[in-house]
């Protein structure tokens, strides 16, 4: 029988809560001896998350966010800004010990392996995509998923965005894209660099279909069964504590 990992399935929460849950699972993993955990989740209200090192005001149109009711959060992981559209995006996270044999010690290689679960899963519903180093997944040359990882408390935490039916227009209203980045890619229209599953497949697709595909992708890649579970009391306590930090302007506007 294959090993069981915990699945925290499609919990809908606000931005501070979602980021606090990922961090709580990472912190508690070794301390409590919890199973490895995969989460699939959606953000309500929709939010922009910026990477740990990003300048909030350079990456995000704060006025546009305010106007459209889009929340703001800073992640503990590096990487780029993401628009988490409640109506069109699924975020996943994976927490496993950093000495788990299935996950390479080498960070770049571990992106390839963990993103491989997403590539396999999406492949199952007809999205022919591939891992593009450092941390992207592309379909037809366009980004369909961005991923970010941190290592702390003896674990790997990787989370990433899956663009299901994200409103790409709104995405580029709330995100600012630097000139340096555009010129390097030699593409004028930034909207052309990104796609979503619905656009790629040219048909309507439900969250549940994508959810099932992602679950199969993780199960097949890591030879495990994902068993639906919930957070421990200890983790829930940490979430309440961490939420306060994530909600503070001092944290969100840290850089």
């Amino acid at each position: 029988m294959s090993e069981s990992w915990r699945l925290i399935d499609m919990r809908v929460e606000d931005a501070p809560t979602q980021m606090a849950i990922d961090e709580a699972i990472a912190y508690a993993r070794v301390k409590e001896g919890n199973p490895n955990t995969v989460r699939l989740y959606r953000w309500k209200p929709s939010a922009v998350s910026v990477g740990y090192f990003q300048s909030l005001e350079k990456e995000v149109d704060l006025e546009a966010c305010r106007r459209m009711g889009v929340d703001l959060i800073r992640r503990i992981t590096g990487g780029g800004a993401v628009y988490h559209d409640y109506n069109g995006e699924i975020t996943y996270s994976l927490v496993a010990p950093d000495d788990d044999k299935r996950i390479p010690r080498d960070i770049l290689e571990s992106y390839r392996v963990i993103c491989g679960a997403i590539v396999t899963g999406l492949g199952g519903i007809g999205v022919d995509c591939e891992f593009k180093p450092v941390n992207d997944i592309v379909a037809g040359g366009r980004k369909i998923s961005g991923n970010a990882q941190t290592r702390r408390h003896g674990v790997v935490l990787q989370h990433g965005t899956i663009l299901v039916d994200s409103d790409i227009r709104t995405m580029f209203k709330v995100l600012r894209v630097s000139e340096a980045k555009i010129s390097d890619k030699l593409i004028k229209a930034v909207e052309d660099r990104v796609t979503n599953i619905r656009r790629y497949l040219g048909r309507d697709i439900s969250f549940d279909e994508v959810r099932q595909a992602l679950i199969s992708g993780f199960e097949g890649t890591f030879y495990v069964s994902l068993i639906p579970g919930k957070l421990t009391d200890y983790e829930e306590g940490l979430v309440e504590e961490y939420k306060k930090r994530y909600s503070s302007w001092e944290w969100v506007n840290k850089r």
Binding site: T77, I107, L108, N135, Q149, S178, D184
Partner: protein, 90 residues
């Protein structure tokens, strides 16, 4: 405070906001969509760069990574030196 951005070819975006006077780096803030493990090392690097002679910037940045387990992904120590120099107009 002067700012510059640099997209590392095949890597990530790096930006620097810095201030120099009398041949010394007074302060620098590094931002972008790169990765550094552990993340808090960025504050330590910025602190270490305060007040160093500009001529020593490259070796100080390189030395910071050589003498620690800090991993930089999507950019190299010399990319950081490059973007700080760009922000100072040199």
């Amino acid at each position: 405070m002067a700012r510059a951005e640099y997209k590392v070819p095949g890597g990530k975006l790096l930006a620097a906001e810095s201030e120099a006077k009398g041949g010394k780096l007074l302060s620098v803030k590094l931002t972008g969509d790169f990765f550094m493990h552990p993340e808090y090392a960025i504050e330590e690097l910025e602190e270490e760069l305060k007040g160093i002679p500009l001529a020593k910037m490259g070796e100080t940045i390189q030395g910071f990574f050589d003498s620690s387990d800090v991993q930089l992904i999507g950019a190299s120590p010399s990319d950081i030196t490059h973007v700080v120099k760009l922000s100072l107009g040199s």
